[in-house]
């Protein structure tokens, strides 16, 4: 360090030390500004978060408020196990949930008067262990209806109810065939036994873990045995993974059978549309469940089980 350096340092320092000072006022300014800017930053951050939240909420709410007519909450079945969409339930006529007639006497009593009918409807709701009946059973006696019509001519309220019931029943009569559905369900319940009869229970395929079929060699042949009550797609879905096509023949793998749908246990019927109905039933907790549902679809004037889920 030479004289030049020393001289510069000395004069520079003296000058700024004498003339440049940091005051308390400046300190206050800095502290104030720092805190203000921090508050501003926090406020902006808060506003941004709030705005974002509102925007997300608005976006989510738009479909709800845009068309309120579509957002009617339909009456949903009291059964907690149903996974059917409320829309389809809303279309289900009340008459579908009427109890199975205990005996002919009770049924005739129900038909005698409209008021008694209503009382029985309440009773049905309170008794879960009764089968849900189809509407056709309530229209067995046209004569009774005629009698009721005569009686209700003097009562306009009763008359209107009869007209509505009559319209519902007529529509349901055309679209619903309980006997067919029950027949299909029985066939479905017998499906495992039906296939087992095709299997040679003495010919076990050790390498795969199943039994060979007596005659069938292709999966498709098994499906064909089921097409009288299942759609091909559903037959394939229910059996494809249980079958193995090998060089020595077709093998049914050893595994649990399909669960049954018990017609003598409570269940619910959902009308999805005129050509599609769904039977839903609660299952005991176990390997399957908690519900089993069978969907019936009318295809080429024939009712078939188009979907089984459990």
């Amino acid at each position: 360090m030479d004289n030049f350096d020393n001289g510069i340092k000395r004069e520079l320092k003296n000058h700024v030390h004498q003339n440049i000072h940091f005051t308390e006022n400046e300190r206050e300014k800095i502290l104030e500004s720092a805190v203000k800017k921090q508050q501003k930053y926090v406020a902006i951050k808060l506003l941004t978060v709030t705005a974002f939240t509102l925007a997300v909420f608005t976006l989510l709410a738009i479909p709800f408020f845009a068309n309120p007519e579509d957002n009617i909450i339909h009456k949903i079945s009291s059964l907690p196990f149903s996974d059917k969409e409320p829309d389809s339930k809303g279309e289900l006529p009340d008459s579908l949930f009427e109890r199975k007639k205990k005996d002919n006497n009770q049924h005739s009593e129900n038909d005698n008067s409209e008021s008694e009918k209503n009382e029985n409807a309440v009773t049905q709701d309170e008794e879960p262990n009764k089968e849900i009946d189809m509407p056709e059973n309530h229209n067995n006696s046209e004569k009774d209806q005629e009698k009721n019509q005569d009686e209700s001519e003097n009562n306009p309220i009763t008359n209107e109810t009869n007209v509505e019931d009559s319209a519902n029943n007529e529509a349901n009569q055309e679209n619903v065939n309980k006997e067919i559905f029950h027949e299909l369900i029985k066939k479905f319940n017998n499906m495992d036994a039906q296939i087992s009869n095709l299997v040679d229970s003495t010919n076990y395929a050790h390498n795969v873990g199943g039994y060979y079929f007596k005659e069938l060699t292709k999966k498709e042949e098994v499906y064909n045995h089921l097409l009288s009550y299942l759609t091909h797609e559903e037959a394939e879905g229910l059996w494809s993974y249980r079958l193995v096509e090998s060089e020595n023949g077709l093998i049914e793998l050893s595994m649990d059978g399909h669960p049954d749908f018990y017609l003598d246990q409570p269940y619910i019927i959902n009308k999805i549309n005129d050509t599609k109905f769904e039977y839903v039933q609660e299952m005991e907790p176990g390997l399957f469940g908690p519900i089993i549902s069978l969907t019936f679809t009318k295809i080429d004037d024939q009712w078939l089980i188009s979907n089984v889920s459990y």
Partner: protein, 184 residues
Amino acid sequence: MINIGQFSDENSREQLLNELISEYAMDLKRIAYIYVKDKAQCEDIVQEVFISAYKNLVNFREDSNYKTWLIRITLNKCKDYHRKWSIRNIAYKPLLDPFVNKKGNVKSAEEELETSERAEHIIQAISCLGLKYKVVLILYYYQDMTLQEISDTTNIKFNTVKTRFVRGKSLLKTELERRGIYYG
């Protein structure tokens, strides 16, 4: 020396800022003054430096100490000042009020004026230099930093600092001699 550990709590940031101001504000303001030659502007720069530091305290890494960190911020703010041209920069402003003697020195008014003028010439001469020389000379002459410390503070290679210092000092000497200021 301020220890960051005791101020790591979010609520203590203001306290830390206060400590930093007490410790370093004066030096930073003087560095800024030598750099920008404007008293009002150097006040603003120091204010911005501490606000910037306050906002970034949570990100401060203890790779360097607070002093080095703040000096680096100050120099960057000064460079920004040069980049931001404004009409006020062309208005005439005396560097300092030559008749204000805050320390109450017993020097005569004539001596005071002469000393002040020489210092102003030095500051003006430094400010005439290029930015790369100015930073090195300010830290060397005012902060009493070694060339190695300048290298660490500015993140410039030592040899580069050394070259800039030699070249800058030569230019400063020439400029001062042109102004009639000589050091034996």
